[in-house]
């Protein structure tokens, strides 16, 4: 990725109950539509890492404290879960909203995208 523009994390929140109830065909179709938006972002040189998370049942939480507490599952019990995220380069919040809007229209689901500007980004070299 190039330029001094702001990096945004676009966090995908959705009901895990519903997404886990998708058939393979429904899931493939959703991923194909999102893939089209991702290719466009990549062509513009704005797309950073994209990640889909395993279900929250695979999550472990370490609570801060003198003696950190380990808990099975995600930190919060909410109706919608963090299912994945994108890192995208955006000139402005407006452009970030526009990008998330493209993803939202491509998504076959309800739920929400949360836009969080990145304070620090280290690409790392995993998988190279």
């Amino acid at each position: 990725m190039k330029g001094p523009e702001m990096l945004y994390a676009i966090l995908c929140y959705d009901s895990e109950d519903v997404v886990c109830s998708w058939t393979k065909e429904q899931d493939d179709a959703a991923m194909a539509r999102l893939g089209a938006v991702q290719r466009k972002l990549a062509a513009e040189g704005r797309l950073g890492p994209v990640a889909r998370l395993l279900p929250t049942t695979a999550a472990t939480t370490v609570r801060k404290g003198a003696e950190p507490l380990v808990i099975d599952g995600p930190f919060a019990e909410t109706k919608e879960q963090l299912l994945g995220f994108y890192v995208v380069e955006c000139e402005s919040l407006d452009q970030a909203i526009e990008t998330a809007g493209d993803l939202a229209r491509a998504s076959s689901s309800s739920g929400a995208y949360e836009l969080r500007p990145l304070a620090v980004f280290r690409p790392g070299d995993l998988g190279t």
Partner: protein, 416 residues
Amino acid sequence: MTDLAWIDAALTAARPQAIGALLRYFRDLDAAEEAFQEACLRALGNWPRNGPPRDPAAWLILVGRNAAIDQVRHRARQQPLPPDELISDLEDTEAAMAERLDGSHYRDDILRLLFVCCHPALPATQQIALALRIVSGLPVRRIARAFLVGESAMEQRITRAKARIAGADVPFEAPGPVERAERLAAVSAMIYLVFNEGYSAAAGDTSRRAPLCDEAIRLARLLLRLFPAEPEILGLTALLLLQHSRAPARFDASGAVVLLEDQDRALWNREMIAEGLALIDKAMRHRRSGPYQVQAAIAALHARARRPEETDWAQIDLLYATLERLQPSPVVTLNRAVAVAKTRGPEAALALVEPLEPRLSGYFHFFGVKGALLMQLGRADDARCALDRAIALAGSAAEAAHIRQHLDRLVPDTDP
């Protein structure tokens, strides 16, 4: 955006919770199912117009309950049903309902529903059929297809199961800790049965029965979301995911069985393996091992080996020994013998296998393993005899074909 695919998935996802709550309310499976059907019909009319409700399950429970009550009133006093438009006007009630559902009842409702389906008064086949019908909402036609019976026969089987449940003493009160543990064990066993029903399918039938495996995984995940820190449920879910991850590699193009060590590991489903490994790692941290966790740990060792030669057979041998202690069974010992053959050779394995014969004399895999061990020891005649017995006991054409391949290897090259 509320497209039909989303509504379809939302109805499926909300089904166990909604039917569970309606069952608590009506204390009758048929009434709960009818109320849910009615609520689904109204959702299909309402949601595309008004957008999805904040909490689909709460909406379905409330609308289902009201519709059923209206129907009773309708029959009693011949009053017309309220127009559908009014049903959608539930925002406040729905929110209040959702608050209440969040807390105490949610877990117990679903657990009770699952428990009712695996009630000990029902034979295993009826348990599976009832769970697939009531909890998963699979059409009777599809369940019948999976069990190779006619639709009306399956309809009868489900009706009989429901009648037995109605006559049985089903506890509707919230279970205490001891009962909850018992119910969890019964429900886990039922989910495992559903999976095995799909997994043991003959090769030509994978597409017909694989949906049972997917459904069992969905039920296990549901149970795990309710009890996220229960090691045996972590283990069960991990086990099903790790087993099912190999599904694309288990049969070749002609439908013949491909043994674990001959499978193309590139075909294994990496995402399922990642999830299964994450879950079994979490379970082990609890240090309360149980049969599902041990089996999942064995499956995990196979999944972690990139090539068959990298399989940690010594560790698998130890895990089977643990399983023998937790859940003694000749089948477990037979499986352990396979690991022993790899670590200590066919002779040691055969010594473990032979005493099992009286108890496994009707078991296909027993003679398959015994035949293979005898082959390795160069005892061709004994091997042929064992493999012939295996073919006679094969449950499917694919199993028989697999054994025949072994037999072919015993035939001297000079034969035509």
